[in-house]
Amino acid sequence: MSSVLLPLRSGSEVDGFRIAERIHAGGMGNIYRVTKPGFELPMIMKVPRVGPNEPTEGIISFETEAMIVPALRGPHVPKFIAAGDLARTPYLVTEWVEGQTLDQRLAGRSIPVDDVIRVGAAIADALHDLHQQDVVHLDVKPSNVIMKGDGSAVLIDYGFSHHARYPDLLAEEKRFGAGSAPYVSPEQLLGTRNDPRSDIFSLGVVLYEMATGTMPFGELDSDVRNRLWLDPVPPALHTPAVRPWLQEIILRCLEPSAVTRYQSAAHVAFDLRNPEQVRLTARAAKSQRAGLLRHVRRFLDARRELGHRLRFPKGQVSNSPIIMVAVDTSHPDDERQPALQRTTEQILSLSREFRLICVSVIDAAPLMDNASVAESASGIHLEHLIRLRHWVEPLRMPQQRLSLHVIQAPKPANALIDFARQNNVDLMVLGVPGADQPDRSSWQSVASAVSANAPCSVHVVRYPTRAT
């Protein structure tokens, strides 16, 4: 680094970017609002502290961010605008994301459980998007989450992040702390930097914090190693409004061993949005933290794991996808059904990490006299749910990897597409009728509309037409 960049004066210019007010001054550097003719977007410029007396941590962190941010895409990351030459004028210009950081939103207090769920699912969506781009954030905390007006989340600050297809500049710099003490995952402490499940642990800490207003493992740097074995106080003990299913989700995110956590952020988002589908374990009912003996065992377990660092199996994100199968429960005895079942079974046999969602779209309930509408609607709903369960039974899926949904909607294609988008579905499987089933031809157009517009891969199963 040849030059020392002093704090920039408001009104000065760097590579055509006019510096406006400084909005952040921190140990790592300064952040300014900037403008440039021809750029409509509100923008910020991050300038690292560089100089003989500055710690190198700041510059490597900055370098890491300048390497990763230009590669990021989509609605959950700040848009990259420009980067300066690191050897001469290091800076990084990105979109200024309008919204409130979760930190500001929380202001040190808990928030209502409904908000915990909404915000938590939004962060999980953002993390899933990031993980699918081969990036692990590694510093998930409220001050790095911006909540936008539409309820979605944007993740900022990639100074500690890891990109699976880039050299990891921070990997060899072991003396640098990993992430932020209250949120950091156990394996990050041990030096693992390529595991997306580390972000899921941090998300668990954020969920816990939002729900209870306290930190599960304390806030001090000196507390940091306790998460290798400490059993956090069950969140419902702090906040009775935390229902068992939500406690289940939070504590599963906080499992010290990554293999017992959720394996994908999409699964966390899904469970937060579908409480009735959460399979409850002992975590849900916990009303006290582990006793002394149990703690000693957790401590010993952690000690054993210190020996061999958890290595993240390659391609985990895409190996634990969500499969959605659309079942026509209005025609349960149709020839398509066994074909659809066979195909689904074959897909599921590829991996034990798959999650299966069975969806049936039925017509909105027929209007009868006003009094019986609700009753008949729920009756129809239940009937289709039973058929759906019957359909999936031969596949013998474990409860925790399976969920069933009956959606009442006038346009099945739109309903399926929306559902796939909301639940981060990776692959949708659906059957189309054969040519000898003219009465089912509406499914033909559903299949075309879905294949054309679905946000995921689509597998269309056709029952072979017999020659007559």
Binding site: T56, I59, I60, E63, M67, R165, D168, L169, E173
Partner: protein, 253 residues
């Protein structure tokens, strides 16, 4: 040679080993990616059945300004193959008689390394190119980077693609690149890239290996290019070269 490199995308082609099919596939692949310049990082010949045609192609590129450095197999054509293993020795004897005087002279005339601006091109280690040391670990990579004194060292000799970089605390870290994924290599750091072998991959993947460096974007992209390895193996058998050399292309081991 090479006065103006500004804005050039350079193809890095190492360890061609007389494999015409692999070389042509890589050159076509590189042309599709806007490559304006070529650097041949040694071992143009040896093992493969087409040392003559491969040498002619490289010589033609050299006459229009391409970088070409000498590899140990190229050197063995003139100097003898005492230091090589038996398989390589046998193929060098065959290769020598398959080359014309002109082709042999071209190989003999090649320099061991070329420094061009911020880049050092060398077949093996920049520390002692004629010693043909393998860059097989962090220590060897560091020695080469430090001896080169440039931001970039591009080499071959080792047949597996690899990217080494110096950290700010002076440590060296290896990175195994992923084919087709551009990697930022900012010039304020020091990098050593091993382009992989065009003509004789040994990592179980039969596809030819090479890399492309963009000196403006400061990015390097490693590629694997499938080619007609069956044809290349057949020619080795037809030439009467050792069977092992044909199988090597079929198994990439």
């Amino acid at each position: 040679m090479a006065q103006n490199r500004a804005g050039m995308i350079i193809a890095l082609l190492a360890d061609l080993h007389g494999n015409l099919e692999a070389l042509e596939a890589c050159l076509r692949h590189a042309a599709d990616r806007g490559v304006g310049r070529h650097a041949f990082l040694g071992d143009l010949v040896g093992y493969g059945a087409d040392p003559g045609p491969v040498t002619d192609i490289v010589a033609a590129f050299a006459s229009s300004g391409a970088i070409v450095v000498k590899g140990n197999h190229d050197a063995a054509i003139e100097q003898g193959a005492r230091e090589l293993n038996e398989l390589a020795r046998e193929s060098i004897e065959w290769t020598r008689q398959a080359l014309t005087v002109q082709q042999r002279q071209f190989l003999a005339s090649l320099p061991l390394s070329i420094r061009d601006g911020s880049i050092c091109f060398v077949h093996a280690s920049a520390a002692a190119p004629e010693a043909w040391e393998y860059i097989g670990d962090n220590h060897a990579a560091r020695t080469s980077i430090e001896a080169a004194g440039t931001s970039y060292v591009f080499s071959g000799h080792v047949h597996d693609q690899m990217l080494y970089f110096l950290t700010t605390v002076g440590k060296i870290a290896p990175f195994r690149p992923i084919s087709g994924s551009a990697v930022p290599v900012p010039s304020h750091r020091r990098w050593l890239a091993i382009a992989g072998s065009v003509g004789q991959p040994r990592d179980g993947n039969r596809a030819a290996a090479y890399a492309v460096f963009d000196d403006v974007a400061e990015q390097i992209t490693f590629y694997r290019v499938p080619y007609d390895h069956l044809a290349a193996a057949r020619k080795i058998r037809e030439a009467g070269l050792p069977e092992d050399l044909a199988q090597r292309l079929e198994r990439a081991l």
